[in-house]
């Protein structure tokens, strides 16, 4: 397929269509709405299902119902809308049906704003809804990766009967850059042996997330955990940049990772031995790869568009072996590469405190009052 100039949200939607999406249910919310609008035109034209729901709550439950038939289905939203979807996400996980959700994050909490943010890392990666389960979370850093990971998301959802969340942000959703779309796949209605389609010539099937006896719920929770073990073994994804001889390792995902890469390139031009580790699967998280890096690097710097949510995972992986520092912009602010570069220069030339609190020392550097 030729490379085209594509907007992130539109590219994501078209990628899902080409991956054989059979039904989309959604609700308008900035900065995600281009997905909904694209589907509203394309899906009916292809004879597929598009429906604008009355709320995100309804949208995720429509997706839940459609997923129970074995159809390839998805929805998309942005932070406040995804909060409303938490109920359905939990039921989908508990019923073990495959669903893809695209979350184009924006600034929060509350109504916040419509600017790009990574403030929902904890909400999405740490669970997404009540109960004992783990969602698969994929974080693209470009329009091309948004396309590729959306296609992958469907395969993973169906392989593991799980919810897969493509966690992107307003910047990636709104930006335009050249990218290549996959070829069009026809809608292929799978006939999994659990799908509810009408008990024609077979025993009836029931799909539910209710296990009233704790013994049965425990069995279910174990089943989910066993599946998660497979996911951890097979589906960890990340990208490494300039890490072979890096003494300083930056860690960032999505847009923050992309900005950090610009800073790393500029620092390399200055001769600073710095590299970038960019997690793509935020869940399962590449703990082992980061642990390995911590035995080679002198220090690490986590860059995020939040107050240090993934930072906790890096600290867990590093386990105090090397100093970890943090740099973040909050509330819908996107860091400039120069800001990250200044941090790299500082770490390259100043000794790093071994056991500091990375969030507090960052706040001190930022001269944020009340610290």
């Amino acid at each position: 397929m030729p490379r085209e100039l594509l907007k992130g949200n539109v590219a994501t939607a078209e990628a899902a269509i080409r991956a054989g999406l059979e039904a989309y249910f959604g609700y308008p919310i900035t900065p995600q709405t281009e997905l909904l609008e694209w589907f509203s035109e394309r899906m009916p034209a292809l004879g597929r299902t598009f429906l604008q729901a009355e709320s995100e709550l309804a949208a995720i439950n429509m997706v839940y119902g459609a997923a129970c038939t074995g159809a390839r289905v998805m929805t998309s939203s942005s932070s406040p809308g995804v909060s409303l979807m938490m109920e359905g996400i939990s039921y989908i996980a508990g019923t073990e049906v495959p669903v893809v959700l695209v979350d184009v994050m924006r600034g929060g909490p509350g109504l916040g704003n419509i600017a790009p943010s990574q403030g929902d890392y904890n909400q999405i990666v740490r669970g997404g809804g009540h109960g004992d389960f783990r969602p698969i979370v994929l974080a693209p850093a470009s329009v091309q990766e948004s396309i590729d990971l959306t296609v992958l998301a469907f395969d993973l959802a169906e392989k593991y009967r799980a919810i897969v969340i493509v966690l992107t942000d307003g910047s990636l959703g709104q930006m335009m850059e050249p990218a290549e779309l996959p070829p069009m796949q026809p809608v292929k209605r799978r006939q999994p042996d659990w799908a509810v389609t009408g008990a024609e010539g077979r025993e009836r099937r029931i799909l539910s997330s209710i296990y009233l006896s704790p013994e049965e719920e425990e069995v279910t929770n174990f089943r989910l955990l066993q599946r998660w073990n497979q996911i951890e073994a097979n589906e960890i994804r990340y990208k490494e940049y300039f890490l072979d001889d890096a003494e300083l390792v930056l860690v960032g995902f999505g847009t923050a990772g992309r900005v950090a890469l610009s800073a790393v390139r500029a620092a390399r031009a200055e001769g600073i031995p710095v590299g970038l580790f960019r997690p793509i699967s935020l869940n399962p998280y590449p703990f082992e790869a980061i642990k390995d890096l911590s035995s080679r690097a002198r220090a690490m710097l986590v860059v995020e568009m939040n107050s240090g949510q993934m930072l906790e995972d890096v600290l867990l992986a590093v386990s105090g072996k090397v100093p970890v520092e943090f740099f973040g912009r909050l509330g819908g602010m996107v860091p400039f590469p120069d800001e990250v570069l200044a941090e790299i220069r500082r770490l390259a030339h100043e000794p790093v405190a071994p056991n500091g609190n990375p969030r507090r020392s960052w706040m001190k550097r930022m001269a944020i009052a009340g610290n």
Binding site: E22, A23, F25, T49, L51, A53, E54, S55, L57, A58, A59, N61, M62, V63, Y64, G65, A66, A67, C68, T69, A71, V73, E87, G88, Y91, T95, V196, T197, G198, A199, E200, G201, R204, R205, I206, L207, S208, S209, I210
Partner: protein
């Protein structure tokens, strides 16, 4: 005397009804409502192409009692889930079975919009004027003055508002093809309820849009009445507030003759 008269079965368990004991309390009319739905599925030969959507409340285990495919929705979201199923399987028959707390309180948005869209699904709506499963709290259908575990002095309309007449409300929407209220308090009304359920499924099979049958039901346990007293209470107290009427009947249905 001729003893060789051919035996004729005049009454038996519907095929669409599973052979299990229900969990419902003695005297509760859920069982009657279930049986009527199963009879209609049999009569219309729909069992193998029907998908039911159970809700949250006393009927949470409805899926155990119908011999057809079933899903279990989150509280109030059965119409949304049914929409998702019906949109990808338009040739299948999809029905929800919901109580008054589920449908008229937490799920009010989903039911109103399903009706407004003319979603081609059938809704069986059980109105027993309280939240049964959680132990008899005030519902949107609780009568003025009615005592419940969360309105111990009786529903004070100044503080707690008025009961919602769901069928009347939904019948105002263009997408609704068949919306009626019936009652399960005596044999005559049970027969009328059965006919209404049949018409509701006929509406769906004919693609006439959203169909809903509101069924006034008893809850002896939480009302603190005997099963017989509960039937009388329904007749005397509920029907004046919730009249048994046809609120919306698509012209294509009104000409239909059901034997």
């Amino acid at each position: 005397m001729d003893t060789n008269l051919p035996a004729e079965i005049v009454y038996q368990r519907p095929q669409a009804f599973t052979e299990v004991t229900t969990h419902y309390c003695p005297g509760c009319t859920h069982g009657v409502a279930h049986r009527l739905v199963a009879e209609v599925l049999d009569e219309m030969n729909l069992r193998e192409r029907t998908i039911g959507v159970a809700s949250v409340g006393c009927s949470v285990f409805a899926y155990n009692y119908f011999d057809c495919d079933f899903v279990e929705a989150a509280h109030g979201r059965a119409p949304a889930m049914a929409t998702g199923i019906k949109r990808v399987l338009p040739e299948r028959v999809v029905f929800t079975y919901q109580g008054d707390g589920d449908l008229a309180s937490i799920g009010m948005a989903e039911i109103v919009h399903a009706a407004a869209r003319g979603e081609n699904i059938t809704v069986i709506f059980i109105n027993n004027a309280n939240y049964g499963m959680t132990g008899g709290q005030m519902a949107p259908t609780t009568l003025p003055g009615q005592k419940t575990t969360s309105s111990p002095l009786g529903r004070d309309v100044e503080q707690m508002g008025f009961p919602i007449r769901t069928a009347e409300l939904l019948a105002t929407l263009e997408g609704a093809g068949y919306v009626v209220r019936r009652s399960l308090h005596d044999p005559k009304n049970i027969r009328l309820a059965k006919k209404a359920l049949r018409l509701a499924f006929e509406a769906q099979v004919r693609g006439l849009g959203f169909s809903l049958v509101e069924l006034l039901s008893t809850c002896p346990t939480n009302w603190g009445l005997s099963p017989l007293q509960a039937l009388h209470w329904l007749e005397e107290r509920m029907i004046p507030v919730f009249p048994l009427e046809d609120f919306k009947v698509s012209p294509a249905l009104s000409q239909l003759r059901i034997s």
